[in-house]
Amino acid sequence: MSPDGKASQSGSAAVEAQRVTKIFGGGDDQVVALDDVSVQIGENEFFTLLGPSGCGKTTLLRLIAGFEHPTDGRILLGGEDISPLPPFQRPVNTVFQNYALFPHMTVGGNIGFGLEMLNKSKQEVDDAVTEMLRLVRMEELRNRRTSQLSGGQQQRVALARALAPKPRVLLLDEPLSALDLKLRKEMQIELKRLQNETGITFVFVTHDQEEALTMSDRIAVMKEGAILQIGAPRDIYDHPSDRFVAHFIGETNFLEAELLERKNGAAKVKFPSGAVLPASLPDAPISPGKVSVVVRPEHSRIATTKKDAVLSGTLENVVYFGTDTHFHFRLNDGAQFIVRMQNARDSGDDFTPGQELGIAVEADAVQVLRD
């Protein structure tokens, strides 16, 4: 795991999962939803669980909320083991994927529910509801029935309801997936703003990599019940440690290369063409020899001089995207490679399919994957 994998050196994270395993069912049809997962989420952090369907994201949230209990391992909140506590005793609130607003209560009733259950005075509840309505900009809808709200409005009420009791941690399970694209973008910004204004730790679940990259302080990429990598968006994007992570996030090129013996720190890989480039290593131990590496399309360009060309291949296709252009290559060893270049005013489109061209790769753009 990258150095960022640990939230804070100084002990108490907002939430921490320690070697958590969750197995559903028994006998032949048992499902291992989480397999020895450990993660520390810091105070005030916007932390995202990202992964494909069925990888255990919801299960991890439900364990934190208390709707499920770990088969093995512990869940800590502010350093304290909360495993024995039922949901209604955990200072954690959830924004459910389908919102789960109470249909027999008004907007105000929904938002005030948590504080009411905490036995706050009527005055306190009313004030908090007013404040929350202002925060999500819905003051005028206080007495509406929740069935009379649009999707985006329901979303806001669900958020306000979960934020009103000022939880230590807010859990959000794909809260934006039911919204259309435009509303979704708006709510992404809204969520970031709310997190900044309230200073509450957000644990956010999504399977949308773009959403994860734009919103998160850190991301945990999950697959089949395990966390593959934890890091800042940039870190995960630029230095994926794993084939799955590299593939899941953004577009990328996979290449075979040879990892050379390390001489005083800097790792180097040698490509079949003979070119040698510096490379970043994953944080798993890796031995010299044949390795897989990735190079992001935008970290490469068509070589202008022979010396620059690390790879070479035949240009097969040119796809124009407005701001940039994608060049699809078939490398000499048969692999595919995509080069993405920004379109400048004077950049001529003097490359045509069929041409043999060299490809240059930026320094520091080569990332070695663990096996």
Binding site: A65, P87, F88, F113
Partner: protein, 286 residues
């Protein structure tokens, strides 16, 4: 009842929507469909119309019309036998309804708000037993069982009839309540727990209010079923414990009188009113 209606309603609407202009198969276009439909309606409702009509007929015969009159209703109201039977029927039905609905609500919660376990289908079967066993069998069994208890304890009274009614009303109350619970989104209860509500408060503030239409429907079914029952009441009721249907049957043995028409009409009106009332109530809550 309202839930049962909606449930039947939905698939029909869904099925007809792919062929909005009557393309494809449509039962309504089969030859003779309209005739059969009208015949059914006629057989179903004509007797009731006749019943109602002759209840406001001045003549003592129930086949010869003379002129409009409320006299049979007056006689019904002043008939002590009918008064007694009505009060008894209501007493039994109200107690049976309240107890059966309470038991059915708990049974429904216990069978839907738990993790599925092995014996669950058996539990469903046991709860719904009165729906499957022929009523006469239940009646005979109850009769002899109660006779046994009466002999052993010497206790007699209306309690036996009420108990018998309560028991066979439970599955009728249970069905709509369970249907409602199964329709209800489980995450609502989780959201409530997530927002610091203890299980009891979750039940009071979330589950129960959302369940109310189902409970009303169940109570109404139980009430009507109890009012309506003949077979079990006939066998279990002790001397002087004739419920209204049993009293009517007893009177009819001596021939049909307009008085019986009047009682039946009142019975019908009350049933329709009840059903409408609960239906509207259930609608309004949605």
């Amino acid at each position: 009842m309202a839930d049962a209606v909606t449930q039947v309603d939905t698939p029909v609407r869904g099925a007809s929507s792919p062929s909005p202009k009557g393309r494809g198969f449509d039962v309504k276009r089969l030859p003779g469909f309209a005739t059969v439909a009208w015949m059914c309606l006629l057989v179903l409702y004509a007797p009731m119309l006749v019943l109602v009509l002759f209840s406001v007929n001045d003549n003592r015969s129930v086949t010869i019309w003379t002129k409009f009159s409320w006299r049979w209703y007056e006689e019904v109201i002043n008939n002590e036998g009918i008064q007694h039977a009505t009060v008894l029927s209501l007493k039994v039905a109200v107690v049976a309804m309240v107890v059966a609905t309470a038991v059915a609500t708990m049974a429904a919660l216990a069978t839907t708000r738990t993790r599925a376990y092995r014996g669950l289908p058996v539990v469903y079967g046991i709860i719904n037993q009165p729906l499957m066993v022929p009523e006469i069998v239940t009646a005979v069994a109850t009769l002899s069982f109660f006779a046994l208890i009466k002999q052993a304890t010497g206790v007699t009274g209306l309690g036996y009839l009420i108990l018998a009614h309560t028991v066979f009303c439970i599955p009728f109350a249970y069905m709509p309540i369970r249907a409602r619970l199964e329709d209800m989104d489980l995450t609502l209860e989780q959201a409530s727990a997530d927002l610091y509500a203890t299980p009891w408060r979750t039940f009071r503030r979330v589950t129960f209010p959302l369940l109310l239409p189902g409970i009303f429907a169940g109570a109404m079914l139980a009430f009507v079923i109890s009012l309506d029952d003949v077979v079990i009441s006939l066998l279990v009721a002790g001397p002087g414990e004739s419920t209204l249907p049993i009293y009517i049957i007893g009177q009819l043995r001596r021939g049909v009188t307009p008085e019986m028409n009047a009682v039946s009409t009142i019975f019908l009106a009350v049933s329709i009113l009840l059903v409408t009332f609960f239906f509207v109530l259930a609608r309004a809550r949605k």
